[in-house]
């Protein structure tokens, strides 16, 4: 990029000369008080003439609500911040959740950067809430299959149809990992791809089609052996222990980063995420200017090249010839269709969750902490909620075991959610919790895991959620617990999802997650309800 930089210097000199000589001349470069020569030298003029930096945006801050996988853009965003003098603050949320929050006018965001605005487009509010959107990069949601398994299935030579994928999932030939359609765009896109292809109409699905394909979706769900609340963690969990599955549904950009996975694109097609950076309406001129400067930066030739090289996504720097050929599946254009599909998935189709909630009500939980815990658990029973939030509540067919503990197990409560989804019994149990005693985490966790193991089957997804606000006070310690775990095969493979809250030990909780293939959820900032909702994507 030498030439444009040199050119800019020349231009700056000429313009500065013009300013000096013609005092009365109102050239824009003089009028700003900042001669063009003082612009950072690393800033080449964009390929697109529209990206000529016209406005000084330095000092502006852009608050962006983004999908979690946008994290891999941080190094590029940091360079953009340095060059443009702006600050980009990202906050992460799942696409569906985040979209609904923005459409409801919640939060104080200037922009969004979800993998797709397809879901947002189903809301009438979009036209008044969105000012401008620009696609930055693209990646389809595909199937990544272990190389040897792909060869055995013949999928490396000939792509399967979605119907063949379903048959293989049902027969046990193909066990897969997939993120939650309610929490994560990649899981959601997989579900839409599948439902659309199976509906066989050749057009976007409707609510009627959802009913028609429910039986096929149930067959497909038999093959799910790994669940996740986000596409990034799905890959992490797969990398850590790939033994349970033959492949994963995820973004092509993530599949390509794993050399042991073969990219398989079902014949009927896939859905592509196009990452539109989206300016929300009424955010003021500074935010608008900072947004446009950031878009121009990200769309610049060299930056598009860098995005393609570093994140494996398709950009303006890649051509259609570089891409693996795929048909594009249409995305439904009615909100009720999408809601019907999601609701069918969580309440009828997918393997039901079998959850043990191990809840600390020791003395230190007294007061505000216990209130926060109750509110968080009650939020999982909020059958009156609408949108995606209502799908995070306990669902029909699911089983929940509460294990309340302090120095020992204080109370237990088993519950199978009835077909009508009535959760009043859970609510009254939760509201009756009270505090007393020490914190014997690991002794009671052994009990919880045994309980989980007893009710685990091939037809459910079993996990343990551990909530404690303090360090372990009683025997056994995590060391003895680990030895017990290693020697107890029937509890292995049940992930423990630990919530970090109060004085809980981050180190020990991380050890625990590592040992069991679980994950730590940070609620150290106090938002327990958000943490429990996030966890629901994993159960």
């Amino acid at each position: 990029m030498n030439a444009p930089v040199t050119r800019r210097r020349w231009l700056a000199v000429l313009l500065a000369l013009g300013c000096a000589l013609g005092g009365a001349v109102a050239l824009s470069a003089c009028g700003g008080g900042e001669p063009a020569a003082s612009e950072p030298q690393g800033q080449p003029a964009g390929e697109d003439p529209g990206s000529e930096p016209a406005v000084d945006v330095s000092g502006a801050t852009l608050h962006v609500l983004a999908g979690s996988e946008v994290k891999d853009m941080l190094p590029i965003l940091e360079d953009a911040e340095d060059e443009l003098g702006i600050s980009v603050e990202l906050e992460y949320m799942g696409t569906l959740d985040g979209t609904e929050a923005v459409m409801a006018g919640e939060g104080d965001y200037d922009a969004t950067w979800f993998p797709s605005n397809a879901y947002m487009s189903l809301f009438d509010e979009k036209s008044s809430l969105v000012s401008q959107e620009t696609s930055i990069m693209r990646t389809p949601v595909v199937l990544g299959v272990k190389a040897e398994r792909a060869a055995e299935l013949g999928w490396d030579e000939q792509s399967p149809t979605w119907a063949e994928v379903v048959d293989a999932a049902e027969s046990g030939e193909f066990a897969y990992g997939m993120s939650s359609p309610v929490s994560s765009n990649s899981g959601f896109s997989t579900l839409v791809e599948l439902a659309t292809a199976l509906s066989g109409t050749g057009a976007a699905i409707t609510a009627d089609d959802v009913t028609a394909v429910a039986a096929d979706l149930t067959r497909f769900a038999q093959g799910q052996a790994l669940a996740s609340g986000s596409s990034g963690w799905l890959m992490e969990a797969y990398d850590k222990d790939a033994s349970a599955v033959d492949g994963v549904f995820n973004y092509e950009s993530l599949i390509l980063q794993d050399e042991n996975l073969v990219e398989v694109i079902p014949q009927d097609g896939v859905i592509t995420a196009d990452y539109p950076l989206t300016l929300l309406a009424g955010r003021g001129e500074d935010a608008g200017a900072a947004y446009r400067a950031l878009v121009d930066y990200l769309r610049r030739d060299d930056v598009q090249r860098r995005i393609a090289d570093e994140t494996f996504r398709r950009t303006d720097a890649t051509t259609a010839d570089d891409a693996v050929e795929a048909f594009e599946i249409p995305f439904p254009n009615r909100l009720e269709t999408v809601r019907a599909l999601l609701s069918s998935w969580v309440s009828d189709v997918r393997k039901p969750a079998n959850m043990v909630f191990q809840i600390d009500t020791s003395g230190s939980m007294e007061g505000a902490r216990l209130d926060a815990l109750k509110a968080a658990l009650v939020s999982l029973t909020d059958t009156g909620a609408d949108g995606a939030t209502s799908l995070l509540t306990f669902q029909p067919r699911e089983t929940v075991h509460f294990v309340e503990f302090a120095s020992e197990v204080k109370s237990e409560k088993d519950l199978e959610v009835a077909a009508d989804g009535d959760l009043s019994e859970v609510r009254s149990y939760v509201e009756g919790l009270s505090t007393a005693g020490n914190t014997a985490i690991y002794g009671t966790l052994q009990h919880s895991l045994e309980l989980a193991a007893q009710s685990r089957s091939g037809d459910n997804v079993t996990s343990v959620v551990l909530f404690s606000d303090g360090e372990n006070t009683d025997w056994p310690s995590i060391v003895e617990f680990s030895s017990w775990y290693e020697a107890t095969p029937e509890v292995q493979g049940i992930p423990v999802y630990a919530i970090l809250f109060g004085e809980a030990s981050r180190t020990e909780m991380e050890q625990l997650a590592e040992l069991t293939g679980g994950r730590v959820f940070d609620a150290a900032d106090g938002d327990l309800t958000a943490a429990f909702k996030e966890i629901r994507g994993y159960l």
């Binding site: 030439a3 487009s121 292809a197 050749g202 057009a203 259609a320 891409a323 050929e325 599946i329």
Partner: protein, 382 residues
């Protein structure tokens, strides 16, 4: 010309422009005035550029941002600042009549604007236009041709709109077509357009389909429009599922994912041409441009609200250098400089484009009221 080369040329042009401006400043207004194309007004032009504000359709953004276009405007003492808006939405845009000009991308959108702000409009011109086209691929066209849906005449591909609309009405899939092994998609044969509720190019497509389905005649009554929308037009949009809101969207998707992914993509001809001239590596060997037959023209109308807006009209209408820049962005030029388009095409060595005057059959758009009746009927079905 490679994209890097284009940057360099643009750079040289800017330097020259800067020399002209700086030189003019150094040497005094008298000398610079001599080099101005417009004569008597130029004495003050060299001292101060008049800032002109306009609202334009997004497909003209790169034209107005082109450094050479800016330099030509500067020769006339103009600094043209634009913001973009959907063409249809311009009429309702708050304060639009305070702008110096507006440039929607269709006659019907311009009529809407004149309807609402008739008193404020000083004059209306049509400096350039672009036919509606379809970005597609060689494999796809061969399959369509084998089934009587497309044909090539004099090296130019045409999609038979009547046959296409019939295929849509019958819900035909690609796999129902003879020879579909080459393109074995189980999806319906369906053009990918933008969202008809927000975008001009989709509105043009709607107008075209309405005209063809009505036996190549414009629908003139609102009742007939509603009936036609309900019976056949709505499906063209509803069955696509989610569609993007501006014409840059489907085109960018096509460029990056190719014709296998998105076999028939509705575009303005100018988009394809602009990419071929300015970003040739993105247009792969497989990609083709095809014209709907009949086609429909997107007229780029300039509506002036002030004297300064009329000066912009004048430059776009009459300056031969500007005509060349307009053509370089893929638009076909009206008036005295209309030769600029074919010059640019042949200079760039591009083929597959219909020459001026070869569009025997062009559809007419319905009136604003009839178009609105269709839109409202379709909107209610979403």
């Amino acid at each position: 010309m490679g994209s890097r080369a284009k940057t360099l040329v643009a750079g040289v042009v800017l330097i020259l422009a800067a020399i002209v401006v700086a030189g003019g400043i150094a040497l005094g207004p008298g000398l610079l005035a001599g080099s101005e194309p417009a004569d008597n007004e130029s004495a003050d032009q060299s001292q101060e550029l008049t800032t002109v504000h306009g609202v334009i359709g997004s497909e003209k953004e790169s034209l107005f941002a082109d450094p050479e276009a800016k330099e030509i405007f500067a020769r006339y003492g103009l600094d043209v600042q634009v913001t973009t808006s959907g063409s249809w939405a311009m009429a309702e845009r708050a304060g639009i009549e305070q702008e110096d000009f507006a440039s929607p991308s269709s006659e019907v959108a311009a009529a809407h604007l004149t309807d609402v702000h008739g008193d404020a409009v000083l004059s209306t011109t049509r400096p350039f236009y672009s036919p509606l086209a379809i970005a597609t691929g060689s494999t796809v066209l061969d399959v369509l041709a084998a089934n009587g849906l497309a044909e090539q005449r004099d090296g130019v591909w045409y999609l038979d709109m009547a046959a296409y609309l019939d295929a849509v009405a019958n819900g035909r899939r690609w796999t129902d077509l003879a020879g579909s092994e080459a393109y074995p998609s189980s999806r319906n044969v369906m053009i990918t357009s933008t969202d008809v509720r927000s975008s001009n190019s989709a509105l043009m497509y709607l107008s075209l389909a309405s005209y063809v389905l009505n036996g190549n005649a414009v629908v003139t009554s609102e009742d007939a429009a509603r009936e036609q929308a309900m019976a056949s037009l709505a499906r063209l949009f509803l069955d696509q599922g989610y569609s993007q809101s501006s014409s840059a969207g489907p085109w960018e998707s096509f460029l990056s994912k190719g014709p296998m992914n998105q076999p028939l993509t509705l575009i303005y001809e100018s988009q394809y041409l602009e990419a071929q001239m300015n970003e040739p590596t993105r247009v792969t060997d497989e990609m083709r441009i095809c014209y709907p037959d009949p086609t429909i023209f997107s007229d780029h109308v300039v509506v002036a609200f002030s004297e300064a807006g009329q000066r912009v009209q004048d430059v776009l209408d009459n300056d031969p250098d500007m005509a060349r820049v307009i053509a370089r962005h893929g638009f076909r030029v009206n008036g005295a400089n209309s030769g600029a388009f074919s010059e640019q095409i042949s200079q760039a060595g591009l083929t597959g484009y219909a020459a001026d005057g070869t569009f025997i059959d062009a559809a007419q758009a319905p009136s604003y009221e009839v178009a609105d009746a269709m839109l409202q009927t379709i909107e209610a079905l979403y």
